[in-house]
Symmetry: C2
Subunit: 227 residues, 2 copies
């Protein structure tokens, strides 16, 4: 995302990225009230920029389906939609499964790329906070998507990561088994056990979809109380 | 896409859609020189609008990966990339296959949605020009994607349609068997032969990927001659 700064200098690009990153993070973390109109001016004031770069970032985020661009009304944060999250999980699983199908097991030629270190030497996850746990999951998924050598798949998986960030964060905090699943996925990936991994991914996504209605109920209650 | 028109009237929305549609069509049909900078002002002049709505449409199209947004340089049409087209075909096949997996064959409960009429009563395709043939293929794919009930999949398939439009048009004109494949796919879809259809889709995409290097060579030659 390199928009909104007409002078085109390196400083301008950094500034443009800052605006994009800041607004995207606010949306991912549900800092803006859900389902409400996004007001350009206060955002611009808060970030110390003019309305134009903010508006351009919002157009970009709407095209990425992070927010909604509503005719005659402006930009809106999305409501929490179980259907949308489920759709994203279904898509994510398909993209990851496709990615892993490109890995040749015990075959000549290029194999799997070396996974990053998700666990320490004792086999414990290198993370402490829920946000860090979710970050590791996102990283694992992106790494898997890279195996496909297909930038469209990679783009799709990153988009799912961004759009499900808040839900995954809640899952991680509410489900005692979430971290075990993450550790299991990391372990299988590290061992290059592709068949086991595809099975584990299927189970992980199935479980999250089953858990979703309960999670959404909790989130909606919390939201209603906050209003 | 509802941007760029600050007054938010119905007329403004229609105008915004017109600008979006016009620029997108120009890009899909390779009317702008490939790999070159997109100049905002001549586009705006040609469409009789100010620079702002054009710039906003370009931001949207860059986020849709139809064009490139390059730091410090502006918006650029893409070069023809065999790798990108192949990646899109692989993704498309996976999305369609996933969509068809949602159709219950000869089972109780809701089955497949009624396909639109792609062929006349004599079984001939309702199309005459290459653009119409490609349009039918795109429609079939969108209809399949709808079977999934998953808006993310639908969005993905539409995006692939847009981004591969020009390549499919060339394939249709250059490959004598292209129309037969289309007719075959339409026929299988009409007969709700899901297993046969999945097989035919796999074969269609495989063939297009095999044919791609030859096609790209022709396109690049034509482009070099035009410059």
């Amino acid at each position: 995302m390199q928009t909104g700064i007409a002078d085109g200098t390196t400083k301008g690009i950094a500034e443009s990225n800052r605006v994009y990153g800041s607004i995207k993070t606010m949306i991912m973390e549900h800092e803006l009230p859900l389902g409400k109109r996004i007001l350009v001016e206060p955002l611009a004031d808060g970030l110390g920029v003019s309305n134009t770069p903010v508006r351009e970032v919002l157009i970009h985020l709407a095209a990425e389906r992070m927010i909604r661009d509503v005719p005659k009304a402006g930009f809106f944060t999305k409501e929490i939609s179980g259907m949308e999250i489920q759709s994203l999980y279904v898509l994510n699983l398909a993209l990851l499964d496709l990615s892993l199908s490109y890995i040749r097991e015990a075959a000549p030629g290029p194999g799997m790329m070396k996974p990053p270190k998700f666990c320490d030497d004792a086999g414990e996850l290198c993370a402490r906070t829920p946000a860090e746990y979710v970050h590791i999951l996102n990283q694992v998924f992106v790494h898997m998507a890279r195996q496909s050598g297909n930038l469209e798949i990679l783009h799709g998986v990153k988009n799912v990561n961004d759009r499900t960030y808040y839900i995954r964060l809640q899952e991680c905090q509410l489900m005692p088994t979430w971290k075990d699943e993450l550790k299991n996925i990391c372990g299988l990936y590290d061992q290059k056990d592709i068949a086991g991994l595809r099975q584990a991914l299927q189970e992980y996504h199935d479980k999250m979809i089953t858990f979703l209605p309960e999670l959404l109920l909790l989130l909606r209650r919390a939201q209603a109380e906050a209003e």
